[in-house]
Amino acid sequence: MLTFVARRIATIVPTLVFVSMLIFGLQQLLPGDPAKVLAGEEQDPAVIAHLRATMHLDKPLPIRYLYWMRGVLHGDLGESQRSQQPVTTLIAEKLPVTLELACLAIIIALAIGIPAGVVAAVKRGSAWDYGASVFALWGLSTPNFWLGIMLILLFSVTLGWLPASGYVSPFENLRENLAAMIMPAFVLGNAIAAVLMRHTRSAMLQVLSQEYVRTARAKGVSERAVILQHALRNALIPIITLGALEFGTLLSGAVLTEQVFTIPGFGKLIVDAVFNRDYAVVQGVVLVTATAYIVLNFAADVAYAFVNPRIRLR
């Protein structure tokens, strides 16, 4: 087990280095001079020169990369040129918001996806199967920004039940926080529900064909108990580990959802930063995200290997 874990960890470092180089390079290759973008309407040449100096834009690319990496290793991700705040502060402020949105979205996705997948697997091939598929699939088929706007029109403008946008911290007012988050979480969770439904369905199908399920049925256990207690419980592990890997999808979806619902989270932060050429923010956010994703991946692998000894022996 330990060698497996060690080998897995050994792959993380080079991956992270590649990520840092990738995102740094991509940012710096973007056309447009960030100093000019940040210089404001009047485009005062003195201001532009000052900004270029502050951002080390006159130095060659590898040097700028090293400057940045040195900062990263000291825990300093640089400063947002636009708002003059340290990137770490921005991340600390925005990450919990997106995390809350993501968690709510996953809960909704689980609530929709798993039952749909179970039904589809158990009643495979029937109208229930197709119905469940379509039901979960419509979330993947509709652009989430589109769905978001439709929901705002319905629930905020027409019915007035929910706020159209904005964010209230759950520590300030839990009820308002949930009222503001329910629509975006639903929009985001919809897409993941489809994926979870597929995973559940295939995992359940695999489990239902196993020996011990047949044994349970032969013993006279009720069908309901077979499905829920024996099959589902065993199918849950791959489902959950897969769910963890949807983190990347969640973040992509969060970008647009946060834009539509004006939630001050990660997604919005990074989109604005790309358009404003706020290099430090984009680099810092992607590095953090990538690290989280890789760590989650790693945790999922370890969990899977822990459960399934055959993997470990490799």
């Binding site: 000019k36 210089a39 005062d44 947002s80 708002s83 619902f261 919005k268």
Partner: protein, 503 residues
């Protein structure tokens, strides 16, 4: 209930009600998130909206763009126009309790001029020295007369910051600004909200009727409006023109509009790079004239802005005293346009129109493309992201560029940087010695009639050369709850909080 008990309860209620009265908060929806809240470093329009409530300035402007006192009570130009003496208002305090006096004004103006990265340097360039004449009088010495100075002092360059706080914080002042406006800074969460609370020692406190203001940036206009309708916001700026009719039908909402001091136009590369010589549009003024004549400004306003703009052909609106009456707005004339193109020998000129990816710019470009086609132009729309377009414009890598300018109270701010040789915003690459001379003289002339005459001479030349074709002046559109009154519409588009209150 016994009488004494009832009386006691009533008395208690009466005594408690003021204590129980809920703090009045005004929720304002902004179209963008402001940048750094430091008047010296600030660079966006939307930041000025927040400053309007937080940082008072020496002067302000009214609906007619006339200079009115704010932190200053009066001014006096010297006879030669090279010194401006300003008398300050007594009894003004900064948010941290410091007193505003001539020393503070000197400090602020010097900070605007000398701090590295300051965006106010160009605005205060002619100011060579700031002298403290007396605790409430300050004199600005200029290297040359400069009429736009008062208008500059009615904007960020005239915002006075608390010296001790500014000295302590240095360039981090924007994280916790301390000024002399009606509201003081409480907190800011980027892209989420900016919270200000009432400053009890404000010099004009009778005009302030709110305890808090919360600014929420919401870039999407329909979401902004949805928030207003659902009651989460009380006032929004930059309403989408297409939403105005339905807001008008809503009894719970009101709208307000005023024409801006800026303009929307198309900048043409006439000399910024070699591309200008290669394209007939940049090379031949007749082709540019034909292009202008192929456009129906009223039609563009109708389709692209839903009527929420005033057609215009100059850098100031038709109602401005500086509008050159000698060059009136031409009507669409397809016949003459085609004749001009034939004369120039290019019946079907083709050029690329660089357009931002915003919805307005795209609409304008498409309408212009369709209209110009009827005169024989083949306009190719090149959608370019903002950051990239700045670069391309700077290098002259474009034929024509859809570009708007937010406008300055003084007409010099709308033309000098664009049409004078080698100025930073002169993307057209236009350079005419006579125009340069006229513009410089218009800056130093002291009174409106003289300056207006000079600008009309500028117009006669520049509107014939057409480095920029001005299309229209947009309307600033506001929507707010019907409970709110006292909103003053000023052409600079800022939301002034003095006099605003709930009914």
């Amino acid at each position: 209930m016994s009488r004494p008990l009832r009386a006691a309860l009533v008395a208690a209620w009466v005594a408690l009600v003021p204590a129980l009265s809920i703090a009045q908060t005004l929720h304002i929806g902004l179209a963008e998130d402001p940048d750094v809240l430091d008047p010296t470093l600030a660079r966006t329009f939307v930041g000025r909206v927040v400053f309007a409530a937080m940082c008072d300035k020496l002067f302000d402007i009214d609906a007619k763009l006339a200079i009115v006192p704010q932190l200053a009570t009066g001014y006096q130009w010297s006879a030669d126009g090279k010194a401006l003496t300003i008398t300050l208002r007594p009894g003004v305090k900064f948010h941290d309790g410091e007193t505003m006096d001539a020393a503070a004004v000197k400090y602020s103006i010097e900070r605007h001029k000398t701090m590295p990265g300051s965006n106010r340097r160009g605005e205060l360039a002619p100011v060579s020295k700031v002298e403290v004449v007396s605790p409430l009088t300050v004199r600005l010495d200029l290297s040359a007369p400069f009429s736009p100075l008062l208008a500059q002092l009615a904007d960020r360059a005239g915002m006075i910051v608390a010296p001790k706080a500014a000295q302590q914080e240095g360039d981090k002042f924007g994280n916790h600004p301390v000024c002399a406006g009606p509201f003081r800074f409480v907190e800011r969460v980027p892209q989420d909200r900016i919270v200000l609370e009432r400053f009890p020692d404000y010099w004009d406190k009778a005009a302030i009727h709110f305890d808090r203001i919360v600014y929420t940036p919401i870039p999407d206009a329909s979401v902004r409006l949805a928030n207003l309708r659902s009651g989460q916001l009380d006032l929004i700026e930059r309403v989408a023109p297409s939403d105005m009719p339905q807001i008008a039908r809503d009894p719970k909402l009101r709208t307000s509009k005023i024409t801006e001091i800026g303009y929307q136009g198309i900048t043409i590369n006439v000399g910024k790079s070699d591309l200008a010589k290669q394209n007939p549009l940049g090379r031949d003024p007749r082709v540019r004239e034909a292009f202008e004549l192929s456009l129906d400004r009223q039609g563009i306003v109708q389709v692209a802005m839903d009527g929420e703009a005033d057609p215009g052909n100059q850098w100031v609106a038709q109602s401005s005293p500086f509008y050159a009456k000698n060059v009136p707005m031409p009507a669409r004339n397809l016949a003459r346009a085609k004749a001009l193109l034939a004369e120039a020998g290019v019946p079907h000129p083709s050029f690329t129109l660089m357009t931002a990816t915003t919805a307005d710019a795209q609409r304008i470009a498409q309408v212009v493309q369709a209209m110009a086609k009827e005169a024989g132009f083949d306009v190719k729309i090149q959608s370019t992201e903002f950051a990239t377009s700045l670069n391309l414009a700077d290098k002259g890598q474009f034929d024509a560029y859809v570009l708007a300018w937010s406008g300055r109270a003084d007409p010099d701010g709308n033309i000098f940087s664009f049409d004078a040789c080698k100025q930073p915003l002169n993307y057209a690459g236009y350079c005419n010695a006579e125009v340069d001379d006229l513009l410089k003289r218009a800056r130093t002339a002291p009174d409106v009639p003289t300056r207006a005459k000079l600008y009309s001479e500028v117009a006669a030349i520049v509107l014939k050369d057409r480095p920029i074709i001005y299309l229209y002046h947009r309307h600033w559109l506001y929507a707010y709850t019907s409970r709110l009154t006292g909103l003053r519409s000023i052409p600079d588009g800022l939301i002034r909080v003095q006099g605003l209150h709930f009914e």
